[in-house]
């Protein structure tokens, strides 16, 4: 499964656990904090991805980047995983 699919799957699971209702048709331009996930949900998404992928790119990068859109979020993970490999 590619990283975007993993993130989408995790996003759905976390939204249910966090009691958040996601907006329809999340695409690369969807603003993260308007996706229906609140800050706690977003924190849970990062934590769950760390559990599953053993990586938290936001704590590991030298210059912290705070992604605004879903596309930017996926790109951060893609880049971080490629550096690890």
């Amino acid at each position: 499964m590619d990283i975007e699919s993993i993130i989408r799957k995790t996003l759905l699971e976390v939204a249910e656990m966090a009691d958040c209702t996601l907006v329809d048709n999340i695409d690369e331009h969807t603003v993260l904090l308007q996706s229906g996930l609140d800050s706690l949900g977003f924190a849970m998404l990062v934590a769950q991805l760390e559990e599953d992928l053993a990586i938290d790119p936001f704590s590991e990068m030298e210059m912290a980047v705070y992604p605004r859109t879903f596309g930017e979020f996926v790109a951060v993970y893609r880049q971080s995983l490629s550096q690890r490999d």
Binding site: A43, V46, M63, A64, Y66
Partner: protein
């Protein structure tokens, strides 16, 4: 009268002091320093019977809060600061308890907030405006003289500590201890502050006092989603913000925050980590950037402005801002402050006058780095969680033999609640069913931020000789990781 007098001395009396924002209608109302000064004078003149009395203020609007604060500082013997949304609509609308009525009519409020029975509830928006109008019409110039004729008192302000449950614990401060860290330079009048904290808390009160006493402007951003707040900041050209690292991270995710021309950046309420300091420094290279170590109990300890996490270890030998610092045998930071602490804190002060902050620290090279709270208290984006409270809920499950709850470092909210669980054997359900069962139990019994978001099933949990869970391990485990935040009850404001 001191703060009220200071308010009248703001040079540009017509300049905007406060921008109130209604969370319902999003309407915005501007108040000049002249407006605030008049309102405070009228309040004081309308309630002469509150002189030398104890009151508890709860104001929904920032302008009301500030007016009452400045009206009664030096006038009342003691002021308890209640949260702005801490009273029900029914209580607020009850005319009989609008101002200055003692406990018998306010039992519920007094019990909820652990207020002394002699404290009189004061709700500024229900203040007697008819009295104000008549006094305004009658007295005009005479008002000022009348309201200042009494001897100014050394008002005690009581602020609630950021506890996790149960009744509020109140810590007393006087005017001097609250304003010790306030800067009054002429160039600070140009700052336009955003208030992102609850104003009745120590961190919020510091922002209110810094902006008001220095003649700057203050925009209420204490409510609303991040997009709304970021847009509001941009609209009003905010150039000074004090908020938690978690708040900053989410603010930086907003497009509109890129256009803010910030001059003054302050972090507090949680440990400021390397990553957020670097990001803010990169985004606003010209801004004055500092993270502040403070707490309701201690007041403002110190500000670190070298854009690095922790603080320089030379402060352990030289002190800072008149405070003396040391690390005790348990690796707790101890501070001998330059102010008198509330008497209730005496058990935490050693024979040499050093107060046990309860913050675990590590001395690494030339820095002292914060690791978290010795008590294991978890800080989820500024909201505190007692591990014992969560463990109590988990242990109620028939599936659970042992539970250890701790803070797991998280790059969004600083920490999330995590739990190690020893399941009872033989297990009659699958581990995924057990996990779901514990989540459901938690959802039914805990606030959202207290629910364990990471659950690990383990074979054993470390305990000390007396059988107590070894809580320090959680902080120790995260200590080695750079660029992460650990927990702290203390406000690193």
């Amino acid at each position: 009268m001191r703060w009220l007098s200071d308010l009248s001395k703001i040079k540009n009396h017509a300049s905007c002091a406060i921008i109130d924002v209604s969370s319902c209608s999003h309407t915005q109302v501007h108040f000049s320093y002249s407006d605030l000064h008049k309102r405070a004078l009228h309040l004081r003149a309308s309630y002469p019977h509150l002189y030398n009395q104890c009151i508890a203020i709860s104001a929904r609007r920032l302008s009301d809060f500030v007016s009452a604060l400045f009206a009664f500082e030096g006038h009342c013997a003691a002021i308890y600061l209640l949260p702005k949304n801490g009273l029900s609509d029914k209580t607020r609308s009850n005319k009989s308890i609008a101002a200055g009525h003692p406990k018998q009519e306010n039992n519920l409020v007094h019990e909820t907030y652990n207020l002394p029975e002699y404290a009189q509830l004061f709700i500024p928006e229900r203040a007697d405006t008819q009295t104000l109008k008549s006094r305004q019409a009658m007295q005009n110039e005479g008002l000022n003289q009348q309201s200042t004729s009494k001897v100014s008192l050394d008002t005690q302000f009581y602020l609630a500590t950021s506890g996790t449950s149960g009744k509020a614990k109140w810590i007393g401060h006087n005017t001097d201890s609250l304003t010790k860290a306030i800067k009054l330079k002429p160039q600070l009048t140009d700052l336009r502050w955003a208030l992102c904290y609850e104003p009745s808390r120590f961190a919020g009160l510091q922002v209110v006092l810094q902006s008001m006493l220095s003649g700057a402007s203050l925009l209420d951003c204490s409510e609303g989603d991040f997009e709304t707040r970021a847009n509001r900041m941009l609209l009003h050209k905010v150039n000074a913000i004090s908020c938690t690292p978690s708040f900053w991270r989410q603010l930086l995710m907003q497009k509109s925050s890129e256009s803010l021309e910030l001059q003054h950046i302050t972090l507090g309420g949680e440990i400021a980590d390397h990553a957020i300091l670097r990001a803010l420094s990169h985004r606003c290279p010209e801004a004055k950037l500092m993270h502040i170590y403070a707490s309701t109990e201690l007041g403002v300890g110190f500000a670190v402005s070298d854009k690095q996490a922790g603080f320089p270890d030379k402060w352990l030998s030289e002190g800072v801002n008149g405070h003396f610092l040391k690390i005790d045998a348990q690796n707790h930071l101890r501070i001998k402050p330059n102010i008198a602490l509330d008497k209730a804190l005496a058990p935490l002060i050693d024979e040499n006058g050093y107060y046990d902050t309860g913050d675990l620290v590590s001395h690494i090279k030339n820095r002292v780095i914060f690791l978290g709270r010795a008590s294991g208290l978890i800080n989820v984006g500024g909201a505190k969680v007692s591990p014992e409270e969560v463990e109590h809920v988990l242990l109620a499950s028939p599936l659970v033999q042992q539970a250890k709850v701790y803070g797991k470092a998280n790059s969004v909210l600083g920490q999330l609640v995590a739990a190690d669980i020893v399941l009872k054997q033989p297990l009659e359900v699958s581990t995924s069913e057990a996990k779901q069962s514990l989540l459901t139990l938690s959802q039914n019994n805990l606030a959202r931020h207290k629910i364990p978001r990471i659950i690990h099933f383990v074979s054993a949990i470390d305990a000390n000789d007396s059988g107590k869970i070894m809580r320090h391990r959680a902080a120790d485990e995260t200590a080695g990781k750079p660029c992460v935040i650990e927990n702290s009850e203390t406000n690193h404001e």
